[in-house]
């Protein structure tokens, strides 16, 4: 092998490393991604120069087809569909590994009747097995997220024993494939088994947990690339594959923690049987959308105006100090930040005033209900912190409600409403608040002080 090509591969590897490293920081992530893309280009060029001239044309056609599809999909897709796109691309990567490995096997064993050494043999079956799972697993994930497959967890009895059986069968097939190389049947059986396993491990997982699954499958596809590297004795595949494999596992772990899941249960498949986002504690019938601290942080960061509606929950959580911090952070980013004070928020007249003054929020940031009520409709984000009755639209709309007729803050009119409270618990008046189920409303569950502390931490990172 030519030393220059090897050197190019080394450079590509380093670029991948630097690229991933830089993707740890928001400010550098884009450069990182671009560096990594340059690395990929170098690797591809270094590979293309060593192929025979006659093949070049085929290769270029394939690359052009692939690029066209890739670019089309990448630019066509809605921003909200990003996770499913990643799943789709990932699946293709896995399938590519399968194809390369079978191709290599076929060439050596079937067409040229070479004897494949054991290391290469093991590498081939591993690559096929992992790649196969990645492919179908990713496809199911994609289908679930895009609504093409039932998004709910599909559970049936004996799932786990069946998976175990298939796994054992795969091992047997692998061993046979390595031992009796001449017969391609084992390899094909293995391929089929891995594809089936991919389906079965992802199907019982609910839609809400898909991001973790995709991250894991992403790690698998790295491992598949890595084993392909062993098949082809190629360093750049090994380094890049190892990087993705390892970083994917870590990332999965981090995401699990963020979602309060254990990695083990993900690895076994079929965790999180029911989608857990409907908060049942308060016995509420309202269907709400939950939001994570990170997304909330992004919403704040991309807003140009924010109004905070504090309520009794802020007082209970003693969250006033951390909210002041949030306000300072937003103001530093030129986000217009005000507080809408409802006259009866809290449990005594002026309750919010006392607490916000204690936290050193300047008086001129506090706006009375009547002065701010018309401005909600021009506001990007309304952040309701432990308030409930004072933003309950039933006061305007439902004559049966005990709070009907009470003037309220028109928080529901804002573009996005984020609500920080612990549960679906009711307020002082003891009535349901259907605002929480509105399409523009996102629930940020948890003690206000704790969640907002996290939120602030998150925003500082950005």
């Amino acid at each position: 092998m030519n030393i220059y090509i090897q050197f190019a591969y080394l450079i590509a590897s380093v670029l991948f490393i630097i690229g991933i490293k830089k993707m740890n920081k928001t400010s550098e992530a884009r450069t990182g991604n671009q560096l990594s893309a340059v690395g990929m280009l170098i690797a591809i060029l270094a590979t293309v120069v060593q192929v025979e001239v006659l093949s070049l044309i085929d290769i270029f056609i394939c690359i052009i087809i692939g690029s066209a599809i890739g670019l089309y999909v990448a630019y066509k897709v809605e921003m909200t569909q990003m996770p499913e796109m990643v799943a789709l691309f990932n699946g293709f990567g896995g399938l590519a590994s399968v194809a390369v490995s079978i191709s290599d096997y076929w060439l050596k064993s079937q067409e040229n009747n070479f004897d494949i050494d054991i290391i290469t043999g093991v590498s081939i079956v591993l690559s096929i097995f992992i790649g196969g799972i990645t492919f179908t697993g990713s496809m199911i994930a994609w289908g679930k997220l895009s609504g093409k497959v039932n998004g709910n967890a599909i559970i049936f009895g004996g799932q786990h024993p069946l998976n175990l059986l298939l796994f054992v069968a795969s091992i047997v097939a692998s061993v046979l494939a390595v031992m009796y190389q001449a017969d391609p049947i084992y390899l094909l059986i293995l391929t089929a088994l891995s594809l089936l396993l991919g389906v079965l491990t992802v199907i019982p997982i609910g839609g809400a947990d898909m991001p973790v699954v995709i991250s894991l499958l992403n790690s698998y596809s790295g491992m598949a690339a890595c084993t392909t590297g062993f098949v082809l004795n190629n360093n750049v595949l090994i380094v890049a594959g190892a990087l993705v494999g390892a970083s994917g596992i870590i990332l999965t772990n981090i995401m699990c923690k963020a979602m309060n899941r254990s990695l083990v249960s993900v690895l076994l498949g079929g965790f999180g049987t029911t989608s857990s986002s409907a908060a049942v504690e308060g016995g509420s019938e309202i269907v709400v959308k939950e939001v994570g601290v990170e997304e909330a942080a992004m919403l704040f960061d991309s807003a140009s105006s924010v109004i905070v509606v504090p309520g009794y929950g802020m007082a209970v959580a003693q969250a006033q100090h951390v909210i002041r911090e949030l306000s300072e952070l937003c103001e530093k980013r030129n986000i217009d930040f005000r507080f809408a004070i409802h006259p009866v928020a809290g449990r005594m007249p002026g309750h919010m005033n006392v607490l916000l003054a204690e936290a050193n929020v300047p008086y001129d940031k506090l706006v009375e209900m009547d002065d701010i009520n018309d401005e909600f409709s021009n506001t990007d984000v309304v952040f309701i912190v432990g308030a409930n009755d004072v933003v309950n639209p039933a006061a305007r709309t439902n004559p049966q409600s005990p709070i009907f007729g009470m003037p309220i803050l028109n928080a529901d009119k804002a573009r996005t409403v984020i609500v920080s409270k612990r549960s679906m618990g009711k307020g002082y008046a003891g009535v349901e608040n259907e605002l929480f189920g509105y399409p523009n409303c996102l629930m940020l569950f948890g003690d206000a002080k704790q969640t907002i502390t996290k939120l602030v931490g998150e925003m500082k990172e950005m």
């Binding site: 093949s55 990003m82 079978i102 191709s103 060439l107 991001p211 790295g222 994917g248």
Partner: protein
């Protein structure tokens, strides 16, 4: 593949994996999806293998067709992956 080469490859594998672990020490959750997407693009490195595999002459060979299929798939992964990641990251640009 001989053992000596295997050992060296194993070194590369171990060091690469360790680096992978180290690199993702502290990703802010906002970057989870872009990072996943970006590293997914990297896993499209299989394209190198695919190109080598399709470096077969006859169109009659299964390997050739498999290789070409692999190129298409891997290219989608690579190109789509980088492009999508870039789109996502563009949003982080400070106003």
């Amino acid at each position: 593949m001989n053992l000596e080469a295997l050992i060296l490859l194993l070194y590369v594998l171990v060091l690469g994996s360790y680096l992978g672990f180290e690199l993702i020490a502290k990703v802010p959750p906002t970057l989870h999806t872009p990072l996943m997407s970006g590293s997914n693009a990297i896993s499209g490195i299989t394209i190198v293998g695919a190109i080598l595999a399709s470096n077969e002459l006859g169109y009659t060979h299964v390997s050739k067709w498999l290789g070409m299929l692999a190129i298409i798939l891997a290219t989608i992964n690579v190109v789509g992956g980088y492009a999508v990641t870039d789109r996502m990251l563009k949003m982080f640009k400070k106003k």
